[in-house]
Symmetry: C2
Subunit: 170 residues, 2 copies
DNA sequence: CACGATTTGGTTGTGCACAACCGACTGTTA
DNA sequence: TAACAGTCGGTTGTGCACAACCAAATCGTG
């Protein structure tokens, strides 16, 4: 296996070098499978959550709200990695469905606090068996689950660092 | 950003018996991190692909078209797990951008075949270094990459089987 | 041939996601 | 006090994703 770095091979180069082909294939497969996994999760959750009247991102928001009692839009955005352009209409739909209420904080009128309604709290009970159903669908035991979780976590933080690096260059 | 507040708060060394709370936490974290990883990939690709005038799903389509020379809409939908409601407008945008052409197959007038234009083929050269840039950003070596790939793959097929099972019950 | 079922892609409607921009509020400084 | 920069949500525009529905082409059987 030659390990030479291929640069300065540009205009007129008809076929890319072989290891570049290999890298392209690897990257392609990782993209594909990550997208596919994300879509598969969504497909599995969709009918289950439809019984509760929630979409998958709405479910993620409810999980955060259930756990913390109340959350500002800013906090939700940070932990779920969503910006206000996504959260604002989503929260309005959740409010319209009767699961949460949104109120300006008295302390800081810029901030909007989201907390569950009675109905939203009651929903938690009905959602109680979802984790078990989903986890059993993955076919993973607790250890494999943990490994996948930490693998994805480390990839994510690596990607975050890389994105910040690119950001810094501008 | 990159606050990582409530993640990894309680991933201590011990593993207590997996009660319902524990399961909920695991499920929550797996959902979150998968979504987060998907989003992080998207964020990293976005500026890189913007130089080429592509979005991430458009890039996936171009990868498939580059590899096979030409693909029907049906084939694209199968390999990328997208339906026509997503692909049709996406392919129109790619055609408008001048990267592909769409033509009814002479053999079967129902089928639409997508193939790259000259400009689309030329784009492949300009996209040549993307895999290396992305892969180095992940901070994974070839073996870790393969492990993650196969882990995601097995999860995806387990989820597919589970979804089919649910489907069959209706 | 005619009839009906299937395949294939397209359209419409709803919702998620981000970038770019805006307006209101807050804390600091002059 | 007035001016200012920074924070926080919201709005608009573009694109992805799916469900539900539709039209044309094809295939199968009588």
């Amino acid at each position: 296996m030659s390990d030479r770095t291929d640069e300065a091979r540009e205009s007129g180069g008809e076929s890319p070098p072989a290891d570049s082909e290999q890298l392209l294939r690897l990257e392609r497969q990782l993209c594909f499978v990550l997208h596919a996994t994300s879509r598969a999760f969504d497909t599995l959750y969709r009918p289950v959550l439809a019984e509760l009247g929630l979409t998958y991102p709405q479910y993620l928001v409810m999980l955060a709200v259930w756990e913390h009692g109340e959350r500002s839009v800013k906090e939700l955005g940070q932990s779920l990695r969503l910006d206000s352009g996504t959260l604002s209409p989503l929260l309005k739909r959740l409010e319209k469905a009767g699961f949460v209420r949104r109120e300006r904080s008295p302390d800081d009128e810029r901030s909007v606090v989201v907390h569950p309604t009675e109905e939203g709290i009651a929903l938690r009970e009905r959602a109680g068996d979802i984790p078990r159903r989903i986890l059993s669908a993955t076919g993973l035991d607790e250890q494999q689950l943990g490994e996948l979780h930490s693998a994805l976590n480390s990839v994510t933080s690596a990607l975050d660092r890389a994105a910040e690096e690119i950001d810094r260059q501008d």
